[in-house]
C-alpha cells in the first residue's frame, strides 16, 4: 500500500514555517536543529503515531519523546499543525506566561518529556517502554535524539540498558545533522571516530567514514541508516523498526541542519540563533519554494522499467512518475496496475501515478493496491461527483489525490471545491499520449493562472508540470508557480540521469534565488538583498547571488 507523502510534506512545510515564525518572534531559539528534524518528527506524528490531539493524555496514545530538547520549536510547530493547540499560539514561544517554554515542557499539550538537559530522553523512553511492556500495553514510544547529544555518556548507558532488556516497543531516531553548538560534530567530538587532525571535510559526504551505526550495532541495536529528509525512507525505516522483535532499533537519519533554507543549511552559525525579522519573510518564502523532480520512466527503455527505476534512484529523483495510458483516453498504451505492482518492491521512491485512462473510478482500487502513493486522474473524464468519490476514496486509503488537465482544458470550476484537500494538480504542457513533444509555450500563462486560482481557493498541495520540461525552461515553470517537474526525454532520455537531474535542480535553484532576490528588493530594496546575500557562508554562492541580483535589477 502507498502512503500520502504529499500530505506529510505539506504538514512538514507548514511546521518549518512556524519554526521560523516562532524563533523570529522570540528573538532566540534553535532553528537549525528544528529544521533538520522536521521530516523526522513530521513523519512520526502525521503518519505513524497513534494519537489524538484532542486527548493529549489518552491512555492508548503512542509517545513521542524529544530528547534533543533545544529543538523545541521543531516539536511545537508539528504539534500545532497536528492540532494540539492553535497555530497562533506559536508566537508566544519563549515568552513570559507561555505554555511553549524554551525547552519542551508538560505545560504544552502533546509534550511527553520535559527535555533540555541532554542525554536523558533515551533513558526516560526506555522507562516508558518498559512500563508499557509490564502492562502488556501495545503503546509505542518514538524518541528523537541528537548527534551532538550523543557526547553525553548517559546515552550509552541507556543504549546498553535497552539492549539488555530487548526493548522493542521503542523506535529511536538520531537526527544526524553533523553539527553541534561549537562546530561540526566531527570537530567537537567525533561521533564517527576520527581524532584531532583527521580531515573531516568529507565527513558528511563520504559514506566510508561513517561509523556511528557501527557504534550502535556494537551495543546490540538494530541499526537502520537513511536520508532523514526523505519521508518514504523514514516511513519504511519506522515500519521495519516496529517489525523487529526482541531488539531495540535506532534509525540514523542523516540530515542537514537548517534544511530548507539555503543560508542556514549545514551552517553551524544557525544552531542557536533566531532569524532577523527583516529576513524572516524571505525565509518563509524560501520554505514555500521547495521543488521536486519526477522523472517519467516511460521516456526511458520500456523493455527494462526495472532498470529505469534504478536510474531514477541513482539520479536522485524525488518521485517516480508513472504514465499509465489505456489506449482509449489516449491512443497509446503503456502499462497498468500489474506493472506498477511488479515495480513497487524495487524502490522506496514515491510512485506518482498519472492515470491517462477512461473511467478512472472503476480502476482506482487496482492502482491503490498496486502501491501508488499519489494517484492523479484527468478532469476530462471526471465530473464533480465522480472526482469527489475518487478524492475521498484515495484519502481514506491513505493515498494522495491529484487532478490533471490537458492543454486544451481549463481547470474546472468544480475542482475548486477540492482545493483545500487536493494533493496535486498536473498541468499538461504537451498533448498526452505522445512522446518527444515540445513544451507548449502558452502553458506558462496557464500554469500561472491555475496556481493563482488554486492559491485563492486555499490549495496547499503542489502544481506539477508535465511535458517537454527541460533544464532550459524548468526555471520559468518554477517561476510560474509549479513545484513538481516531470522529466521525460530531458532526464530519462539522457545517458547520465544524475547529470540530467542536477541540471534541472541547478535551473530551479537559479530561479528560486532570483525570485527571493526580487522579493527582497521589493521588501527592502538593494539593502535587504545585500543583507540576505551576506548571510550565505559560501563565497561562491554569494558571488552567484550578487550576479543574479544585478541581472534582475535588484542591485
Amino acid at each position: 500500500m502507498g502512503a500520502n507523502y504529499s500530505k506529510i510534506r505539506r504538514c512538514v512545510r507548514r511546521a518549518r514555517k512556524l519554526v521560523i515564525k516562532s524563533t523570529t518572534l522570540a528573538g532566540s531559539g534553535h532553528p537549525g536543529g528544528s529544521l533538520s528534524m522536521a521530516e523526522i518528527v513530521g513523519t512520526i506524528i502525521f503518519s505513524h503515531m497513534r494519537h489524538d490531539p484532542s486527548r493529549p493524555l489518552w491512555e492508548d496514545r503512542d509517545r513521542l519523546v524529544l530528547s534533543k530538547g533545544h529543538a523545541a520549536p521543531g516539536l511545537y510547530s508539528n504539534l500545532a499543525v497536528a492540532g494540539y493547540f492553535e497555530e497562533s499560539e506559536i508566537s508566544t514561544l519563549r515568552k513570559f506566561g507561555s505554555r511553549l517554554q524554551g525547552h519542551p515542557d508538560w505545560k504544552c499539550p502533546g509534550v511527553e518529556f520535559c527535555g533540555g538537559s541532554l542525554g536523558i530522553g533515551l533513558s526516560f523512553s526506555i522507562g516508558v517502554a518498559l512500563g508499557a511492556r509490564m502492562d502488556s500495553h501495545d503503546t509505542h514510544t518514538y524518541t528523537v535524539i541528537g548527534d551532538g547529544e550523543s557526547d553525553e555518556g548517559q546515552v550509552w548507558e541507556a543504549a546498553m540498558t535497552a539492549a539488555k532488556y530487548g526493548v522493542d516497543n521503542l523506535t529511536v531516531v538520531m537526527d544526524r545533522n553533523f553539527i553541534q553548538q561549537d562546530s561540526y560534530t566531527e570537530h567537537v567530538m567525533p561521533l564517527d571516530g576520527g581524532s584531532v587532525g583527521t580531515d573531516v571535510s568529507k565527513s558528511r559526504s563520504d559514506k566510508s567514514l561513517w561509523r556511528t551505526g557501527d557504534k550502535w550495532r556494537a551495543f546490540g541495536w538494530n541499526v537502520l541508516e537513511i536520508d532523514g529528509h526523505k519521508i518514504e525512507q523514514l516511513s519504511d525505516a519506522i515500519r521495519r523498526s516496529k517489525a523487529a522483535h526482541g531488539v531495540p532499533t535506532i534509525i540514523i537519519a542523516r540530515t542537514i541542519k537548517g534544511n530548507g533554507v539555503e543560508h542556514m543549511a549545514d551552517n553551524p552559525a544557525w544552531h542557536g540563533k533566531a532569524p532577523d525579522p527583516s529576513i524572516a519573510p524571505l525565509v518563509s518564502d524560501e520554505l514555500e519554494s521547495q521543488a521536486m523532480i519526477a522523472p517519467s520512466i516511460i521516456a526511458g527503455d520500456m523493455t527494462d522499467l526495472a532498470g529505469e527505476i534504478r536510474r531514477c534512484e541513482e539520479g536522485g529523483a524525488d518521485y517516480v512518475h508513472l504514465d499509465v495510458m489505456d489506449g482509449r483516453f489516449v491512443p497509446a498504451t503503456t502499462f497498468g496496475a500489474a506493472k506498477i505492482a511488479e515495480l513497487r518492491p524495487l524502490t522506496l521512491l514515491p510512485f506518482d501515478a498519472h492515470l491517462m485512462i477512461n473511467d478512472p473510478l472503476d480502476h482506482l482500487a487496482e492502482y491503490v493496491d498496486a502501491g501508488a502513493d499519489i494517484i492523479t486522474v484527468h478532469a476530462e473524464v471526471c465530473d464533480e461527483s465522480s472526482f469527489g468519490e475518487i478524492h475521498d476514496s484515495l484519502h481514506s486509503s491513505g493515498v494522495g489525490a491529484g487532478l490533471a488537465i490537458n492543454p486544451a482544458t481549463e481547470l474546472p470550476e468544480w475542482a475548486m471545491r477540492f482545493a483545500g484537500t487536493l494533493d496535486q494538480v498536473i498541468v499538461m504542457s504537451v498533448e498526452p499520449g505522445k512522446s518527444g513533444q515540445k513544451y507548449i509555450e502558452s502553458s506558462h500563462e496557464k500554469t500561472r493562472s491555475v496556481c493563482e486560482r488554486l492559491t485563492k481557493g486555499g490549495f496547499g498541495g503542489d502544481v506539477e508540470v508535465d511535458g517537454g520540461v527541460t533544464p532550459g525552461n524548468v526555471g520559468a515553470c518554477f517561476e510560474d508557480g509549479a513545484r513538481i517537474f516531470v522529466g521525460g526525454g530531458a532526464i530519462m532520455g539522457q545517458p547520465d540521469t544524475r547529470r540530467a537531474v542536477d541540471a534541472f535542480a541547478a535551473s530551479i535553484t537559479r530561479a528560486r534565488r532570483t525570485r527571493l532576490l526580487v522579493r527582497a528588493g521589493r521588501l527592502g530594496g538593494g539593502e535587504l538583498a545585500s543583507k540576505w546575500i551576506s548571510l550565505h557562508k559560501n563565497e561562491q554562492t554569494r558571488d552567484e547571488l550578487t550576479k543574479l541580483a544585478e541581472g534582475a535589477g535588484v542591485l
Binding site: D105, W106, E112, F113, C114, G116, S117, G119, I120, S123, F124, S125, I126, G127, V128, A129, L130, G131, A132, M134, G153, Q154, E157, A158, M160, T161, Y165
Partner: protein
C-alpha cells in the same frame, strides 16, 4: 550509645517493605544500579522479576529510566548508595524527576531511596561518605527529604511515601542502628516526633543522631537540664509548628546530623526558627569538611573527630543555653 539497646538494619527493613508494597500493587517497580544485594532490593526482584530493573553502574540512567516508568504511570523506587545519588545524578533528579508537572502532580512519582549516608560508611573513606545530600536535594523544588532514625522509621516511611504521590529522597545509614521508635510509631510526611519532653533546650536530630540526642538528654538530665528531643525525620517538608513551639517553649535549639552543617537539617531548622521565633540555634554536624576511612570499630572515633557524639551534643546545649540568656 547504649550497648543494651536493640539494633535494627535499615536496608533489611526497606527491602521487606518493598516486597510488601509489591504484593499490594502492580504499579510498584524497583530499580537498582549494581547494588541491589547491598540495598536489599534483590528480594523484590526475586519475587517480581518483571518489575525489577538493574541498570548496572549507571546512576544517571537509573534515575531517568525510573522517571520514564513513573511518567508511564508506575511508582518507581530507585536505589543505590547516597554518594552516587544525588552525586552522579543531580541533573536527572532535578530535570527528569522533580521538574515535570501536570496540574497538582508536581514532579514524578519517583522515590529515591539511598543507603550509606554520612560518615558511618567507614572504611570506604571520604570519597564515599555523603555529607551534602540533604543540602543538595532540599534545594530542588518538589523534592521532599526524609532521614529515618531507625529500621522502624524506614518501614513506616517507605509505606508513607508509597501512599503519597510525588518525588522523595530518603537516606538510610549503612550500619545497624539502635531502634529508638516503638513498633507502633506512625510516621507522617512533614511531621516530627517528640522523643522526650523537656523545657530548658531542644535537641533536633535526624537519622543516627536521634539515639545520640537521647543519650545527650540523659547526660544533661544528670546536670538538672531538661532537654526536649525531636526526631526531625522530615527535613522537607519541615514540621515548622513543632519547631516553633520548641523554640518558644525551650528557648534554644541544638541540631545534630550526620551531614555537613551547611544546608542540612540544622540549616532548615535555623531558617524556620529565624522566621518564626528567633532563638539561638547551634548546629552539630560535619563542619565544612570531608570524612576519611576508618574500620567499623573506629567509627565512633571518626564521629567524635567531627563532634557527632552525645557528649558534644550535651556540651553544645550548654553553650546554646548560655547564648540564650
Amino acid at each position: 550509645m547504649s550497648g543494651e539497646q536493640a539494633m535494627g538494619d535499615m536496608r533489611t527493613a526497606y527491602g521487606s517493605a518493598l516486597v510488601e508494597l509489591g504484593r499490594k500493587s502492580d504499579s510498584v517497580v524497583v530499580l537498582g544500579a549494581d547494588t541491589t544485594d547491598s540495598l536489599k532490593t534483590a528480594a523484590f526482584g526475586k519475587e517480581f522479576p518483571d518489575r525489577f530493573i538493574n541498570v548496572g553502574i549507571a546512576e544517571a540512567n537509573l534515575v531517568s529510566v525510573g522517571a520514564g516508568l513513573a511518567a508511564y504511570g508506575k511508582t518507581a523506587f530507585v536505589s543505590t548508595y547516597a554518594i552516587f545519588l544525588p552525586g552522579r545524578a543531580v541533573d536527572q533528579i532535578r530535570n527528569a524527576v522533580a521538574y515535570p508537572t501536570r496540574g497538582q502532580k508536581r514532579g514524578l512519582d519517583v522515590k529515591i531511596i539511598v543507603s550509606h549516608g554520612g560518615l558511618t560508611v567507614g572504611a570506604d573513606g571520604g570519597s564515599h561518605q555523603q555529607l551534602e545530600d540533604i543540602a543538595i536535594i532540599r534545594a530542588i523544588p518538589h523534592m521532599r527529604v526524609l532521614i529515618p532514625a531507625d529500621s522502624v522509621a524506614v518501614t513506616g516511611l517507605t509505606r508513607a511515601i508509597a501512599a503519597e504521590y510525588g518525588p522523595f529522597y530518603m537516606r538510610m545509614a549503612r550500619s545497624k542502628v539502635p531502634i529508638v521508635h516503638a513498633k507502633s510509631q506512625e510516621f507522617e510526611v512533614g511531621g516530627a516526633i517528640t522523643m522526650r519532653e523537656g523545657s530548658d533546650c531542644t535537641i533536633a536530630a535526624c537519622g543516627i543522631t536521634v539515639s545520640m540526642a537521647l543519650e545527650a538528654a540523659r547526660l544533661l538530665a544528670a546536670d538538672g537540664i531538661s532537654a526536649r528531643v525531636l526526631d526531625v525525620f522530615s527535613v522537607k517538608p519541615l514540621d515548622t509548628a513543632t519547631i516553633e513551639s520548641a523554640a518558644r517553649e525551650t528557648g534554644c535549639i541544638v541540631t545534630c546530623e550526620e551531614h555537613s552543617v551547611l544546608g542540612g537539617m540544622g540549616s532548615a531548622v535555623a531558617e524556620a526558627v529565624g522566621e518564626s521565633h528567633p532563638v539561638p540555634v547551634h548546629r552539630v554536624g560535619v563542619n565544612d569538611a570531608f570524612g576519611e576511612s576508618c574500620r567499623d570499630a573506629e567509627i565512633p572515633s571518626l564521629l567524635e573527630k567531627h563532634g557527632i557524639t552525645p557528649v558534644n551534643i550535651a556540651d553544645t546545649v550548654r553553650k546554646a543555653r548560655k547564648s540564650a540568656r
